[in-house]
Amino acid sequence: MSTRPSRTRVVATLGSLATVALAVYAFAAPYTKTN
């Protein structure tokens, strides 16, 4: 049996990590310089 992760699993994991990054953008409100 191959131990290589399926493409579906990789996409699901990357999508989850991207969702977390987007959640930080949406819900955190750090102040940064405007330019």
């Binding site: 992760p5 399926s6 579906t8 699993r9 990789v10 699901a12 994991t13 999508g15 989850s16 990590l17 969702t19 977390v20 990054a21 987007l22 959640a23 930080v24 953008y25 949406a26 819900f27 955190a28 409100a29 750090p30 102040y31 940064t32 310089k33 405007t34 330019n35």
Partner: protein, 229 residues
Amino acid sequence: MSPGLAAAVLVAPVVALVVLALRPGGLAAIGRIRVHGFVWVLVAAAVQALRTADPAWASSFLHAAGGAVPALVLGACAVGFVLANTRGRPRAAVLAAAVAGLGAVLNAAATAINGGMPFSVAAARTAGIDAASIADPTPGHVPIDAATRLVAFADVVPVPGLHLVFSVGDVLLWAGLAACLVVVALRRPADVVAPPADSGPELPGVAGVHHSTALTSPDAPSAVARSTA
């Protein structure tokens, strides 16, 4: 996106990946990371982007009730996102998600009550943010003054190298999300399969997990397959 904001966005997933990579079997566990509630995050991100852009056509929404309405929408989306990630999760993951949600709600509360997220001018100077950016802050942010409420939850902690000022709520959000990712990834597939019908009452800490397949590895055999193997 400024380097500081990019670093802030990436800190939770990067911390989680580093923690997992340092554990035995952690790299394989990364494949079990699953996060739900994407729609809540998408709506909130759209509102956040709108706040930052502050277009004239959205003025009636962005400035309704003194700017409180978009902050309340963000808070509601945060609660929805947390609830979407608590069903069928181990108790530690629920706790971590709740911490993240608390951070988001604190940010939303400080923003709603002040008409924008307050930031410390002194901290902004310490962070190296230029005077022009402080005098004309990003839409959605307001400098702390004598009338500011919930100052403890405002952006008051400077990060000089990244030109960033963050809040207590930001820390809770980062830590909660990173912890949630780690707990979910390390959850063994065997922990979430259905118990036998005659196994008696559920054990503490596993209540509610047997209806979920979200945390079960796609490569793991089903409960039926295991019981008949």
